[in-house]
Amino acid sequence: MAKIRGSIVINVDKCKGCEVCVVSCPTGTIALAKEVNGKGYNYAYPANPELCIGCANCAMVCPDGVITVYKTKI
C-alpha cells in the first residue's frame, strides 16, 4: 500500500502562536515552541514531522497564512 507522507514549512518569523493549527492537526504533528520569535510569540513548529500526512488542515485554518504544505506518495 502506498504510504502518504507530508511535510510542512512554517514561516516562524510571521507566526503569532495562536495555536489554532495545533488543535486542527489530526496527527499531532505541530506544537508550540518554548522559544519565542522576533515578535515574542511562541511560534508553532513541526514537533513530530514524521507524523505529517499533508492534509493541509493547519494551513487552511492559519489566520496568518504562514504554513506551506507538501505531500507525496512513497
Binding site: S7, C18, E19, A56, C62, P63, Y70
Partner: protein, 260 residues
C-alpha cells in the same frame, strides 16, 4: 526540527499542496493572534486568485480592524467612510460594471452605522458581494458592545452582560437582508475549522460566479471570534463561539437561488 530522513525530499515544488495566495502581500496581518479576519482575508485572496480576477477586482474596505485591507491584498481597494462601503461599492459597480466588486465589513460597520446603506444596497439588488465579519463586538476600539452582541455577553460597555430590557435585542442582519427581494445568495459561515473554511470558500466562489452573471447582491456572513475583545485565548474563543454564537447565529444558507 527533528532530523527525519526523507523530509527534505518531500519539500519540492511538484509536491506542493497548499501555499499562501499570491494575491496577498508579504505584509504581516495587523490582527491579533487567532483572529478570524486573517483566515477570511486568506480565503478571499485564494478565491480571487483561482478565479483569475486579481486585475479585475475592486474591494471596498470598512472602518474597523480590517481598515488596512489594502495593505494585505494586492488588489485595488477603496476605503469608505464608516458604514458606507455598500454605497461606495454601488457607485464603483455601476461605473465599472465589468469589474468584480466586493465589500468587506465588520459588524460595527455593517450592522450599526451602516445599516441603512446595507439594507438599501441589498434591496436595490446591487450586483456586489458583501462579506460581513460578525464577532459580536467592536474589536478595534476596545471591545465595546455592538448591535450583534449576544444577550448576557460581556463587553467593555456592558460589563455585567447585555441586558435586553436596557440595551435591546441582538440584530440578525443576515436574516433581515435574506427577506429583501434584491439579494440573490445569502449565507452564514465560519472560518474556525478546516471544514468550515472549505464551505466558506465554496460560498465565496459561488458569489463570484453569480456576480459574473449579474444576479444581484451576494451576502456572506462569517461568524468570527475576537480573542482580544472576548478576553480569551484563540482556541478558547473558538470553542466559546461554537457554544454561544452558533445557537443564536446558526450556520448555513439562508437564501439560495431556485434551481433553474
Amino acid at each position: 526540527m527533528k532530523d527525519v530522513t526523507g523530509i527534505k525530499e518531500i519539500i519540492k515544488p511538484e509536491n506542493l499542496v497548499y501555499k499562501r495566495s499570491s494575491v496577498l502581500t508579504d505584509n504581516v496581518f495587523s490582527y491579533c493572534p487567532g483572529c478570524g479576519h486573517g483566515t477570511a482575508h486568506r480565503i478571499l485572496a485564494e478565491v480571487i486568485e483561482e478565479a483569475g480576477l486579481q486585475s479585475e477586482t475592486i474591494g471596498v474596505a470598512p472602518v474597523g480592524c480590517s481598515v488596512l485591507l489594502y495593505e494585505f491584498m494586492n488588489v485595488d481597494v477603496q476605503q469608505a467612510a464608516h458604514g458606507r462601503a455598500p454605497a461606495v461599492a454601488t457607485a464603483i459597480k455601476r461605473l465599472l460594471p465589468e469589474k468584480f466588486v466586493f465589500t468587506y465589513q465588520g459588524d460595527g460597520d455593517l450592522a450599526a452605522i451602516g445599516t441603512a446603506e446595507t439594507i438599501h444596497a441589498c434591496n436595490r439588488g446591487e450586483n456586489i458581494m458583501i462579506i460581513f465579519i460578525n464577532n459580536g463586538i467592536y474589536g478595534m476600539t476596545g471591545g465595546q458592545m455592538a448591535p450583534t452582541t449576544l444577550e448576557g455577553m460581556k463587553s467593555s460597555t456592558s460589563p455585567y452582560g447585555r441586558d435586553i430590557k436596557l440595551m435591546g435585542n441582538p440584530l440578525k442582519m443576515t436574516e433581515i437582508v435574506a427577506t429583501l427581494p434584491g439579494t440573490y445568495f445569502v449565507t452564514r459561515q465560519s472560518v474556525h475549522t478546516p471544514a468550515n473554511v472549505k464551505k466558506t470558500k465554496k460560498a465565496m466562489k459561488k458569489a463570484v460566479e453569480y456576480q459574473k452573471l449579474n444576479k444581484g447582491t451576494c451576502f456572506i456572513e462569517i461568524v468570527s471570534n475576537c480573542p482580544s475583545g472576548w478576553k480569551m485565548s484563540p482556541v478558547e474563543s473558538n470553542k466559546w463561539m461554537e457554544e454561544n454564537m452558533f445557537p443564536f447565529y446558526p450556520l448555513g444558507d439562508l437564501k439560495v437561488p431556485a434551481v433553474e
